[in-house]
Amino acid sequence: MYDSPLRKTEVDTNASKISARDVQVYYGDTHAIKDVNVEILDKTVTAFIGPSGCGKSTFLRTLNRMNDTIDICRVEGLIELDGEDIYDKRVDPVQLRAKVGMVFQKPNPFPKSIYDNVAYGPRIHGLAKNKAELDEIVEKALRRGAIWNEVKDRLDAPGTGLSGGQQQRLCIARAVATEPEVLLMDEPCSALDPIATSQVEELIDELRENYSVVIVTHSMQQAARVSQKTAFFHLGNLVEYGDTSQIFTNPVDPRTESYITGRIG
């Protein structure tokens, strides 16, 4: 449908942003993630694909310790952000999440005005000296979220009153307002229509200039369109990880081939 390669650029950096080694995740007695090793590059869009329940969202949530809010969840192994272990006792998960932002499957604007939604992160982290600077941050984030033109005249309107696609772009703007280094997106387009989806996809490509983006998606077309690197998960294992073009044209593992050709999933 939208298969025309809008902006297919090659990976232009090899700097590793996040590196995961032998990561195991348990939910109670369930072994949800098994021996995952992956290097996520800076200024790159990395897509996680795989059938439902394969653990890709779980793995994504271990990258900013969102799983800490789930009591029965246990993570083992080493995950490093810029060479520092994020599960180290000295690391404050709250600080970590300011660096590793997250956008969720369903748009979840807070019951506040559009302005306050975007200003939420900068306010709690004290990023603005004064009101004028905060205004600037909010405008910049909304422009990056590609929603500024639609909402600039009604910044005081509640964020919950926007359409689904606008809400999701607002949530992306909210996430980039805190200037994260990595942006995790958990199926950000699954609740959106095709037009909103293409807007969000364009946005993801623009975000790549500044951030490392990790996106979980069920749509293989989407993975092929927006990402430079793709990781295929199956039953809690990372089956194959490589350049997107290679994964989709010339997969090494037979399971990957079966999945992208639609035989399993």
Partner: protein, 487 residues
């Protein structure tokens, strides 16, 4: 025929109707239940429903209407002269009813035959003695008019009861017969039962609403009666509450209203922060194990009768406050009963209301909002303060206003903890009283029910009703205005 028998007969008819309807439907379809429109039991229920509903409706209406009719008939038999000086028709009528009941009892115990009871006359026999030996004591000597009215009362009642039985059973049979005639394989019994169930549910809902209207009306008429004999300008304008049953009392509402609001305010001051913080802890911080113990334990507080809280106020909190603020301490407090005592204890009583409702409301805030906030690097308390509480605010305001309604309507704690003095004072360690406590004391005396001192209770009750109604309307307005749509 006694009502219980009547009910049993209608129920038996309904069971018979169920069986008959079911059997008739199946046999009508030639023993092939697939040819029926509905399941066989629906045909049975259809018949049973049409036996019971009209019969019971008629029974209820009859039970309400018959006493009125019988009373009117017996009253019309009493001539003006039968009412002694200084008495009323109501008092004489209660004599008539007592005599009639006595005659019933006497017949039951075999002291009189049924014939004798209706033929009895004052001249021929000692009616009072006969009734006395049946266990019914009649105060004054029975006049011939009263006896005649009582006998007519009995006779009308007996006819009424007979007619009632005939009408109710007749309606049951008629309904059953009509429903059985309907019972053919293509009759839509399922839809008919569905309509019937809807009707029953509507009926239940209307009873609740009609009762409310009835309560309001009973208040309204007595309040109007009060304002006829006592000027409204003084009721709402005077700052003195000094009822004297000899007459000439001053019945200004302000001291009572002030006491009510002051005590409620202190109660809310205690219960809202504690309840809200407890709810936040239980829903956001506590582990599932602790929560499963603590929440029911907190709600246990709501199950304690208010009289027990009153004892707590009287025996524990009052003396405790007195030892600190009393003559031996700061010297602000004269006695254990004070606004502070009642307010504190009432606050404790309201904690579970606020916490339990707020807890439910906080839990209803979608997890996605929490995730969104944590995902931006917010801490737990930042998330609670800036996302969860604003999202839950309409519900929390509702919970607080509900607690306020409870506080305004509370009686027992006030009676035991706040004293009985109606006064306007700013000192929270003074004894004061509330509207509800005064309603109790105005109505539980020997006062003439037609005096302003007794009727003022209704005006006070009406004021309370209007206040709590206003609070509830305000709560609804807040909830509507700030309600967030989660989808």
């Amino acid at each position: 025929m006694p009502v219980l028998w009547l009910i049993l007969i209608v129920l038996a008819l309904a069971v018979a109707g169920y069986v008959a309807g079911r059997t008739r439907a199946i046999s009508g379809a030639g023993d092939d239940r697939r040819a029926l429109h509905s399941l066989p039991s629906y045909y049975g229920w259809n018949v049973a429903m049409k036996v019971m509903v009209p019969a019971f409706l008629a029974l209820i209406l009859w039970l309400i209407a018959q006493p009125f009719m019988v009373n009117t008939k017996a009253t019309s038999l009493l001539p003006e002269t039968a009412i002694p000086e200084g008495s009323t028709i109501g008092l004489v009528m209660s004599d008539v009813r007592r005599v009639a009941d006595g005659l019933d009892l006497a017949v039951e115990q075999g002291l009189l035959s049924a014939g004798e009871a209706s033929e009895l006359s004052v001249t021929g026999s000692d009616v009072r003695g006969t009734l006395g030996s049946a266990g019914v004591a009649v105060g004054t000597e029975i006049t011939p008019e009263v006896l005649a009215a009582a006998q007519s009362y009995r006779a009308t009642n007996a006819t009424g009861n007979l007619l009632r039985a005939i009408v109710v059973i007749g309606l049951a049979l008629l309904g059953g017969a009509l429903a059985l005639a309907q019972t053919k394989p293509d009759f839509r019994a399922r839809n008919s039962v569905e309509r019937g169930i809807r009707g029953i549910l509507v009926g239940a809902a209307s009873i609740a609403i009609l009762t409310t209207i009835g309560i309001v009306l009973s208040l309204v008429f007595n309040t109007i009666e009060f304002f006829r004999i006592y000027p409204a300008s003084e009721f709402f304008g005077s700052f003195t509450w000094a009822p004297s049953f000899g007459g000439g009392s001053e019945l200004g509402i302000w001291p009572l209203l002030w006491g009510t609001l002051y005590i409620s305010f202190i109660a809310l001051l205690v219960s809202v922060p504690i309840g809200l913080f407890a709810a936040v802890y239980l829903s956001e911080y506590a582990g599932p194990k602790f929560r499963s113990v603590a929440k029911p334990a907190l709600e246990l507080l709501a199950g304690i009768p208010t009289i027990v809280y009153g004892l707590f106020a009287l025996l524990t909190v009052g003396p405790l406050l007195l030892s600190v603020f009393g003559r031996d301490g700061l010297g602000w407090m004269q006695a254990g009963t004070a606004v502070m005592t009642a307010g504190l204890v009432m606050g404790i009583m309201l904690i579970p209301f606020v916490s339990s409702l707020s807890d439910d409301i906080i839990n209803a805030v979608p997890q996605s909002l929490r995730d969104g906030s944590y995902g931006l690097g917010a801490t737990k308390s930042e998330t609670i303060k800036q996302v969860i509480l604003p999202a839950a605010l309409p519900g929390i305001v509702g919970a607080v206003l509900l607690a306020a309604s409870r506080a305004i309507g509370e009686t027992m704690i006030v009676v035991m903890g706040a004293g009985a003095a109606a006064r306007l004072s700013l000192n929270p360690f003074d004894a004061m009283t509330t509207v509800t406590a005064k309603i109790v004391s105005q109505l539980t005396g020997d006062a003439d029910f037609a005096s302003p001192e007794a009727l003022v209770a209704f005006a006070l009750g009406m004021t309370l009703f209007v206040m709590t109604l206003g609070l509830n309307v305000f709560a609804l307005y807040i909830v509507r205005k700030y309600r967030e749509q989660y989808d």
